[in-house]
């Protein structure tokens, strides 16, 4: 397919990339292109300038901060997450979930930064990173700031990354014995989610995020409060999930009605929490 004409730059440094993004109107970062190139074909997006991040090797690194935070560069691919020993020792759920995104070809190109910055409500990583309590490092010409996951996802295709800014790192806290879980219903084995749920259980407390039920991930705070006593038996978790569906206002579409999604949200949250609780080391 012939795309609309687009200008292209391939900066050698993050500073240069930010300067390009800030200088040119309609400039957009190009990561793996597994979403952006397709939406350009569909004419659903029409950037004037693509700033290709391919040569920014510092954004492709996975490492640890001095405080033990897992630091994942925004250009790290799903395939890298699956094969990373750092991810495996720290938060293996990231590799597990990455292995179910798209297909082999998409996982070789698609990036964690692209997945979260697209902020498609059906994407896998936004609810997972909310449950994990990740933070996002955003760099602009004014400097760097770090935004918690609860404030990062603002809506469909909208995040805290502003014009002229670049997401550089996704920071994930060390598990410290916590267990993580992910569950939901997909169209086909590894297809798009109809509803997803991610959970982290640390000691007596749980963090739970539901995907596909609103423009951005929704924290199941009432369910979290009900579980605060530390009883993660199946009966207790099922009881805690009651009312979660009624608290949501999900969309209806060809894949499921709003009521079906409410029900799926409860079932998925229960499964994610039970999986997470079963994986705790304490």
């Amino acid at each position: 397919m012939l795309l609309r004409e687009v200008e292209y730059a391939r900066p050698a440094t993050v500073e240069e990339a930010i300067s390009l993004l800030a200088t040119y109107d309609g400039a957009r970062p190009l990561a793996g292109g597994q979403t952006l190139v397709n939406v350009m074909k569909a004419r659903a997006a029409a950037p004037d300038v693509l700033v290709d991040l391919a040569d920014l090797s510092e954004l492709r690194a996975i490492g640890f901060s001095s405080g033990g935070m897992l630091e994942i560069g925004s250009m790290v691919t799903y395939a890298q997450l699956m094969g990373s020993s750092e991810v495996d020792v720290s938060r293996p759920i990231l590799g597990e979930v990455a292995a179910t995104i798209g297909d082999v070809q998409v996982r070789n190109r698609g990036t964690i930064g692209g997945n979260v910055c697209v902020s498609d409500p059906t994407n896998h990583l936004p609810p997972l990173l909310v449950a994990l309590g990740a933070t996002f490092t955003i760099r602009g010409q004014e400097g760097e700031r770090t935004v918690p996951a609860d404030e990062f996802f603002l809506g469909v295709y909208m995040t805290a990354v502003g014009e002229g800014e670049l997401l550089t790192t996704v920071n994930v806290p060390p598990s410290s014995g916590a267990g993580d879980g992910f569950a939901g219903l997909t169209i086909g084995k590894h297809g798009t989610y109809v509803v997803s749920a991610a959970a982290t259980v640390a000691g007596d407390s749980a963090r739970i995020a539901i995907g596909c039920v609103a423009a951005s991930p929704v924290r199941a705070t009432a369910m979290e409060d009900s579980l605060a006593g530390g009883d993660f038996s199946e009966a207790a978790v099922r009881a805690a999930a009651e009312g979660l569906g009624a608290s949501l206002d999900p969309p209806s579409d060809v894949h499921g009605s709003a009521d079906y999604r409410r029900r799926l949200a409860e079932v998925s949250a229960v499964r994610a929490v039970l999986q997470a609780a079963g994986r705790r080391k304490s």
Binding site: K41, Q105, K189
Partner: protein, 159 residues
């Protein structure tokens, strides 16, 4: 700072041959391969990134060439289906596709071969399950998957 451009010189190694080519920045990699280089073995099936008929190897890993701009491949090493039997002799995998009747209309075959070649490089003796996981991004609209999977498993076992 390198200012944005609408045309750019791309330097790529394609099936072992080093190539320099000036391409419009909006050109998809699949069109660069098919229209500029004449390598029409790489097929365009859906043009939406779903079918995998356009799969090629970029630095050894399978990617969908309809979801990349040609300029994104600058500096990379590409292999297309034409590069598999470059010396005129079919690979073990291609021979196995022949023996197991692993194609019907043949449209998806270049992509199937490229995904399967990458799988066998990573995992020389894949199970049926491994093969099915590796082929998730390749659609055969004749639905001839059974023979394709058999051919790939057999190619692994024959080595």
């Amino acid at each position: 700072m390198g200012a944005p451009v609408t045309s750019r010189s791309v330097s790529v190694e394609v099936n072992g041959e080093q190539i320099e080519f000036e391409v419009p920045t909006r050109r998809l990699l699949v069109h660069f391969l098919r229209d500029d280089l004449g390598l029409t073995g790489t097929h365009i099936g859906c043009d939406t990134g779903n079918c995998g008929a356009c799969t090629v190897h970029l630095d050894g890993e399978p990617v969908k060439s309809c979801m990349l701009l040609a300029v994104q491949a600058d500096g990379a090493k590409l292999t297309t289906v034409e590069g598999l039997a470059a010396d005129g002799e079919l690979t073990v995998l291609q021979q196995s596709f022949n023996e197991h009747h692993a194609l019907q209309c043949g449209y998806c075959t270049p992509g199937m071969l490229m995904s399967a070649t990458a799988l066998l490089a990573r995992n020389p003796r894949p199970s049926e399950e491994d093969v099915r996981y590796a082929l998730q991004g390749n659609i055969c609209r004749c639905t001839g998957y059974v023979n394709i999977v058999e051919a790939i498993v057999a190619a692994g076992n024959s080595r």
